[in-house]
């Protein structure tokens, strides 16, 4: 058995506890050097993590394949039938989208499809059981900045909460710290509210929706971009209303939303260069007009990698109308 002097042993644990509490206090207060240190350490680690990911990802895929073999077959069948259906709708939607874009230009409204996007691959999930994040293989060197919204072709995934040189961490919709101002229902919006993640659940809740609003199951929920300082551009689909509970005499209703994106199986995402969502120096560069700021941002960063990694024009997102900014009914098709 190991023998120690008791006093020495006690002083070590006391010293460690004091150091840890000091670090926690500094970090909670947002100490700059600590944040830089954290980012630097992650950058240092990222090449190693990339190599390990490359080696072990086939193993992970294989295990995941075994776990999901049954559901994959069913999903294949479903996707085939959906593909046929969507091919039929495609031409019609392209015409509608073009018309919609033209109307928006005339109204001078910011729209998600005007925004540049940076394509990225999800390299790993969260190492913790208490937070819901993913790490993507693009960072500040590619133009990714803290606060930028992250989407897939189906809709909103989350937002960037930490951006290092070559990697960024995305807070997913399901994290309880995630929140977004949303609109329920297509033009005109039935109601607006704040969507929030639920600890560990696959669904979200929407708060601040009046009990009198006629929200129903199946209504579409998308970002409203209503607030001037909104983190998200308007019109990004989030999901569908799964359940609505109204209490007699209650002030607001309980709304549960099921996101469109399956957050457990995302592989590729796009980070939208949304000016009002970014933080730090970029905010100052972007001035006031979000639509104009998007184009400038990439150029001003002067980053050699940025052009190669940027998807320059439209996102395969949505043709849903923007409801919030103008507040008129004239921006629909």
């Amino acid at each position: 058995m190991v023998v120690y002097r008791r006093g020495n042993r006690r002083s070590i644990i006391i010293l460690l506890v004091i150091t840890a509490i000091t670090l926690i206090t500094l970090d909670v207060r947002g100490s700059g050097p600590l944040t830089s240190l954290r980012g630097g350490a992650r950058d240092l680690f990222s090449p190693v993590a990339s190599v390990v990911n490359t080696i072990f990802s086939p193993v992970g895929d294989w295990l995941s394949g075994i776990r999901n073999a049954g559901s994959l077959n069913r999903e294949n069948d479903r996707l085939r039938s959906e593909l046929e259906e969507f091919q039929g709708q495609d031409a019609e939607e392209q015409i509608a989208a073009a018309e919609n874009a033209e109307l928006r230009r005339l109204l001078d409204l910011p729209y998600v499809e005007d925004a540049d996007a940076i394509a990225a691959r999800v390299v790993s999930g969260s190492p913790s059981n208490f937070e819901w994040t993913v790490m993507i293989d693009r960072g500040t060197s590619s133009g990714v900045l803290e606060g930028m919204p992250v989407v897939t072709g189906l809709g909103l995934v989350g937002r960037v909460v930490e951006a290092d040189n070559n990697r960024a961490t995305v807070l997913l919709l399901r994290d309880p710290l995630f929140g977004a101002d949303v609109a329920i229902g297509a033009e005109p919006a039935i109601a607006t509210g704040i969507a929030q993640g639920r600890t560990g659940e696959d669904t979200m809740t929407i708060d601040l929706v009046s009990n009198s609003a006629r929200v129903e199951e199946g209504d579409i929920v998308f970002t409203s971009g209503r607030e001037e300082e909104s983190r998200y551009p308007p019109g990004i689909p989030i999901g569908e209303v799964e359940s609505v509970v109204r209490y007699r005499g209650g002030i607001q209703q309980e709304i549960v939303v099921r996101p469109y994106v399956d957050l457990d199986s995302i592989e590729y995402v796009k980070v939208i260069r949304w000016p009002t969502g970014v933080t730090g120096d970029v905010d100052e560069e972007d001035e006031t007009d979000p639509a104009e700021g998007e184009g400038d941002e990439g150029e001003e960063e002067g980053d050699p990698e940025a052009p190669g990694s940027t998807t320059p024009t439209t996102l395969p997102l949505t043709t849903l109308p923007v409801t919030s900014t103008a507040g008129t009914g004239s921006d629909g098709e």
């Binding site: 058995m1 190991v2 023998v3 120690y4 002097r5 020495n8 042993r9 070590i12 644990i13 460690l16 506890v17 150091t19 840890a20 509490i21 000091t22 670090l23 926690i24 500094l26 970090d27 909670v28 600590l34 954290r38 350490a41 992650r42 680690f45 190693v48 993590a49 390990v52 990911n53 072990f56 990802s57 193993v59 992970g60 295990l63 995941s64 790993s124 999930g125 969260s126 190492p127 913790s128 059981n129 208490f130 937070e131 994040t133 909460v161 930490e162 961490t169 807070l171 994290d175 309880p176 710290l177 600890t199 560990g200």
Partner: protein, 171 residues
């Protein structure tokens, strides 16, 4: 402690941290991943005692904190306390039971999870204070108990018997 042992512990720390952030997020059961670094801390503390366990736990926790959104130092504090506690209990054992690895892995994982939630809640991470956290801590503890079966022999390799004998001769 010899440099050979320090190097081995460093290798163990780096390996478990890299695996925790790259491989194990994809190896979840019931949506829960094991706390590899915490189990390594428990294994090292069980092998080398409370002093080494606390220091190893602090450094391992700090390493994993870098990749989390929770405050830097939260895991370090949790792991250091668990490492110290496991080492303290271990010194009271007259002989090592055969089921030591899963038992210490499980109970240590349970304590570590509970400390993380409580200390995290106190530091303002209110989302940790939820019923789901109980479920997470319980399932993770079971997972930790299984992972401990692999990590305890590795800790034995990292801190060999002659090193322990050397420590025992210390005043």
């Amino acid at each position: 402690m010899t440099w050979n042992v320090r190097l081995r512990l460093l290798l163990l720390l780096v390996t478990t941290t890299v695996l925790q952030i790259t491989v194990f997020p994809d190896l979840r059961f019931f949506g829960i991943a094991p706390e590899l670094c915490l189990v390594a801390t428990i294994a090292v503390a069980f092998r080398a005692g409370s002093e080494v366990g606390a220091v190893y736990g602090f450094v391992a926790g700090l390493a994993i904190d870098i990749f989390l959104q929770t405050p830097l130092g939260l895991s370090a504090l949790t792991f250091a306390i668990v490492g110290y506690g496991v080492g303290f209990v271990q010194t009271g054992l007259s002989q090592t039971p055969r089921w030591a690895a899963p038992m210490f892995g499980g109970i240590g994982g349970l304590a570590g999870g509970a400390f993380f939630v409580v200390i995290g809640s106190l530091t303002g991470e209110e989302q940790l204070f939820a019923w789901r956290s109980v479920w997470v801590v319980l399932v993770a503890a079971i997972y930790d108990a299984v992972v401990a079966l692999a990590l305890f022999p590795i800790a034995r390799w990292a801190v060999p018997v002659d090193e322990l004998a050397g420590r025992a001769r210390m005043p």
